[in-house]
Amino acid sequence: MNKFEIQLSGSGGQGVILAAIILADAAIKQGLNAVQTQSYGPEARGGASKAEVIISKEEIYFPKVTKANILLALTQNSYDKYIANLDKDGILIVDDHIETDGDIPGKVYILPILNNANKKFETRMVANIISIGAIYALLGEKVINKDIMINTIAERVPPVTVEKNIAAFKEGIKLIEGIYD
C-alpha cells in the first residue's frame, strides 16, 4: 500500500492529536510524505476529538481522510461518531470497553488500551502512545522504522515522561503482537 489514511479519535484529554503528530512526524523523518489535521474548537472540547494522518510515498494533495485505512477509537462516543469513516478493507482499533457493532468490515482489534495504561503505567495519559504502538505494529517496520518512532516520541512528549512513553509504545506493539502470538 502506498498510502495510509489514519484516523485517531477519543475524548478531549486523551492526546489523540499528539499521537497523530508523532505519526506524521515520524513518517516525514522516514522520508515519506505525511499530512496531519484535526478537528478544532468547541466540539473538540469535552466531546469527541479527532485527529487524522495521511502517510504516503507520493505527494499528498487532498489532506483529509476520505476513508480510514486505520481507525482508532478510544471512547464509545468517538467510535459511534467515526465508525462510518472506516474503509471497507480498513482496520479498526478500539479500546476494549467500547461496544462495537457486529457488522464491521475489515479487521477489528479490540485492545485493553485504557486498562493497561491505568494498570501498567498508572496514568491514562499514555493511552495515546500505546495506541501509536499498536498502529505502528499494524503498519509494519517497512513503513516507518522503529527507532525513528521511538526518537520522535522522545522528542514530542514532556522530557520527564520519555521513558514511560517509550515503554507505552512497546506495550502497544505487544498488544498487537500478542494477538498474533
Binding site: G12, P42, R45, G46
Partner: protein, 275 residues
Amino acid sequence: MNCNETTKNYYRVDKLPHIWCPGCGHGTLMNAVVRAVEKLQLNKDDLVIVSGIGCSSRAPGYLDFNTLHTTHGRALAFATGIKLANPKLHVIVITGDGDSSAIGGNHLIHAARRNIDITTIVFNNNIYGMTGGQYSPTTPYGDFATTSAYGNIDKPFDLCSLAQGAGSTYVGRATAYHVTLMQRLIEKAIQNKGFSFVEGLSICPTYYGRKNKKGDAFEMHSFYKNNCVDIRVVEKTPEKGENKILIGEFHNDPKPEYTESYQVIIDKFQGMGGN
C-alpha cells in the same frame, strides 16, 4: 428532565450539558444568575440576556429567556439598543474579561457613563478561554498564558474600579466559590435602576489553571475561599485586606437613569413638530 426545579424552570435543559470544560467556573456563576432571577421572580418574557463571544458568552444559549449572543466585545452596545427601544425589558449582559474589557472596554465605560439600566455580569477567568488561553487585560502581572510564555508584562485592570470610575452606579464582586454572595449582588444589581456591574471571579482549570499550576477546579475554588475578604470587613479592619482579593458590594449610588431621562424629553416634545 433529571435536574432540580430551578434548572427545569430557567434553563433550556435540552441544550445541556453545556460546552464548558469539566470544572469550569462559568457554570457555577451562571447558576448564581439564575437563582437571582428566580429570587426576584422576574418574568422570563421580560428578561433579555445578551452576551458577546467567549466561553462565558455562551451562557445565554442555555437560559430560557430572550437571549442574544452577539459579536465579540459588543454585547453592551447591542444591549443599549434593546434597552432604549423597550425600557420595560430587564437587560442583563453576561460577558467575559476579554469580551468586556479587551475588545469591549469602550462599550463598558460608555454604558457605565450613561448609567443606562443594564446589569453587566463578567465571568472573569483572567484569560481568553475560548481561543485557548491567551492573556487578557485581567491576567495578573507575571502570569503565564500562551501569548505570555515569558510572564505577562501587562498590568491588569481592576474591572470594578474601571466600571465605577466610568460611572457605574452599582458595583460588586464575588467569585465562583462565593456563589451565594454572587447571587445577592446580582439581585441588587438588577434592582438598581441604572448601570450595574458585578464581577464574578471565575476559574478556567483548562487554560489559566494549567498554565499557572493552580491545580484542579477544587483547588482553584479553594484559592478563592482562602484569599478573598469582604469589603465590609476591610473597611472595619484594614489589615485584614492585605494581599487579599476584595469581594462584596463596592458601590451603590443611584443616579438618573438614561432611558428615564430620555422619556422626560419625549414626554415634553412628542407631537411637537412631529406627526
